[in-house]
């Protein structure tokens, strides 16, 4: 066959090295990875809220949110929960071993709608992984945002991700961090209760000058969005990120379809207004 490979094959993943990894909590691991091709590493640009497809040859390929911020280029950070085939193999990898990635994919948070406004970030459980990206993005570009609030709830202190990092953030003056766990223990220094309870600690909000993002387990969305609505934040300024099964990441394989939309291309970030039209939303 004499066919010229003119097109770049978007399914072909590129090699990346695991630079560092450590356990966040049991079965949840943090990975720093970097493209082996340095040019690629430095030119890889993305938006908070986007994801990559990560391959382990022979095992498969899965989507993972980028947890680092584009404002700190070169290294990509992921937070991974061990749940199945690929994640199990990923947990067997050591520093310096190679994985393969392609992306970034998805739309990411709509930054243009967020600048010059107050930003409320609400994370539940694993949802903090993608939100960590927008969190640091906002902190690195602090002048682009007005007030920044970060609300994060986990089930127990032992399931609270990025504990050291986030506890240190509390000392910063340019961000208000509110943490809670559903069930606390003696050492837990912060609030106890579901994440919606933290809303009462927020100062006065001007809804026309505020945007909100929320990521968490499906059950959480309804309650958190109710709180945003109580604050009168416009529905199209509330952003959330959805998860669906994916095999390609680029709108071909069909698995992530929600009615006529593909989570991987039209999402994973949707505004609450978008989702109101879905009949299928859990």
């Amino acid at each position: 066959m004499t066919l010229i490979e003119t097109v770049e094959n978007p399914f072909k993943p590129k090699a990346a090295r695991i630079v560092r990894h450590y356990d966040l909590i049991k079965d949840h691991r943090f990975f720093q990875i970097r493209h082996i091709d340095m040019a690629k590493a430095m030119s890889f640009s993305y938006n908070p809220g986007q994801f990559i497809m990560l391959s382990i040859p022979g095992v498969g390929e899965c989507p993972f949110s980028i947890s680092s911020t584009p404002s700190r280029p070169g290294i990509l950070e992921l937070g991974v929960r061990r749940v199945g085939k690929l994640t199990e193999s990923l947990f067997q990898k050591r520093d310096n071993e190679v994985v393969y990635i392609r992306g970034p994919y998805g739309n990411g948070f709509k930054l243009d709608k967020m600048v010059d406004k107050d930003l409320i970030i609400v994370a539940g459980g694993l949802g903090v992984i993608p939100l960590r990206s927008i969190l640091y993005y906002a902190l690195d570009n602090r002048d682009q945002f007005k007030r920044v609030f970060f609300l994060y709830g986990a089930r127990t202190p032992n399931e609270f991700l990025f504990k050291t990092e986030f506890f240190q953030l509390k000392n910063r003056k340019d961000i208000e961090c509110l943490y809670t766990v559903d069930k606390s223990d003696a050492e837990w220094p912060h609030a106890t209760g579901v994440v919606t309870k933290l809303f009462k600690n927020l100062p006065e909000i001007d809804p026309s000058e505020t945007t909100a993002v929320v990521v968490g387990p499906p059950v959480m969305y309804k309650f958190v969005i109710d709180e945003f609505l109580k604050l009168k934040i416009p529905k199209n300024l509330i952003q959330l990120s959805l998860e669906r099964r994916m095999k390609c990441g680029i709108g071909k394989c069909g698995h992530c379809a929600i009615e006529h939309l593909y989570t991987c291309m039209d999402g994973p970030v949707f505004t609450y207004w978008d989702t109101l039209h879905f009949r299928e939303l859990i």
Binding site: G58, K85, S89, E97
Partner: protein, 264 residues
């Protein structure tokens, strides 16, 4: 298990045992028969025990034990418990190991003693016969490779994953999937009692490829619509009893729960 050296990534050969219990030995034979892969297999794993193909087994710690056949005697029960203790991963291969096989089709009918007597009369055996049961009736099974016999592509996809320390991929689709990919006309349209939709896929739709209805040898497709499929076949003029008989053939007692509950 991965070793990096000379820039070549190779995995350490896993220690493997292949054991035959009560069955037709078809699954082991299928492995032996797969000429393209059998030499690769012998090269890439450390076969400690494969009595059907090789003498002088060493029975010690194993990374993977493949178990063929149902457990049908007291001695086999003891043997499987011992293998489980020394195997990190245990895989049930073939319908007999996965579902009990044809020999378990009467499970639940309490006819075993009678049938045993009918065939052998009153004889004391060296080891006590048991009514055939699948391997997971006695020990924890990590992975299943259904089929009567197993299919080579499925078997080697699973084995090669285990060699590389990866988790095998399940295939939870009915026979109809491959049947359509093989471009067969659906037999149900001609009112032929095919049980492909109730049967786990993986065989490559061996029967419908020959214009013959699926006999169900991969065991139940857990997502099957048992309730309606039975009704559909009844509308072709079969009695419910006939259909149950057909469906039970390879599912052993495992399938009963699907038929009776109308699915998972």
């Amino acid at each position: 298990m991965i070793e990096v050296g000379n820039n070549k990534l190779t995995v350490v050969k896993p220690k493997v045992g292949i054991y035959g219990f009560t069955g037709c030995a078809g699954d082991q034979l299928l492995i032996i028969h797969t000429e393209e892969e059998i030499l690769n297999l012998f090269n890439s794993v450390d076969i400690r025990s494969f009595v059907m193909a090789s003498s002088n087994p060493t029975e010690e710690e194993l990374d993977v034990a493949f178990i063929e056949g149902s457990i049908s005697t007291e001695e086999e029960r003891e043997h499987i418990l011992k293998i489980r203790k020394r195997a990190k991963i245990l895989v049930a291969i073939g319908n007999c190991a996965v579902s009990g096989g044809l020999q378990s089709m009467f499970t639940g009918d309490n006819t075993f003693e009678k049938r045993m007597n009918k065939v052998y009369g009153d004889v004391e055996f060296l080891t006590n016969p048991l009514e055939a049961k699948p391997v997971d009736a006695f020990v924890v099974v990590d992975y299943y490779l259904p089929g009567c016999p197993i299919s080579a592509p499925q078997a080697f996809a699973l084995i090669s994953r285990l060699i590389h320390g990866a988790i095998p991929e399940p295939y939870p689709h009915p026979v109809c999937h491959e049947c359509k990919l093989n471009e067969n006309r659906c037999l149900l349209l001609d009112k032929i009692t095919c049980i492909g939709p109730l049967t786990a896929g993986g065989c490559g739709s061996a029967c419908p490829n020959h214009g013959l209805p699926c006999v169900g040898c991969w065991g139940p497709n857990e997502d099957g619509n048992f309730e309606h499929h039975l009704e559909l076949l009844e509308s072709f003029g079969k009695t419910r009893e006939e259909i149950r008989r057909l469906v039970r053939g390879y599912g052993g007692h495992k399938i009963l729960k699907f038929i009776d509950k109308g699915g998972k």
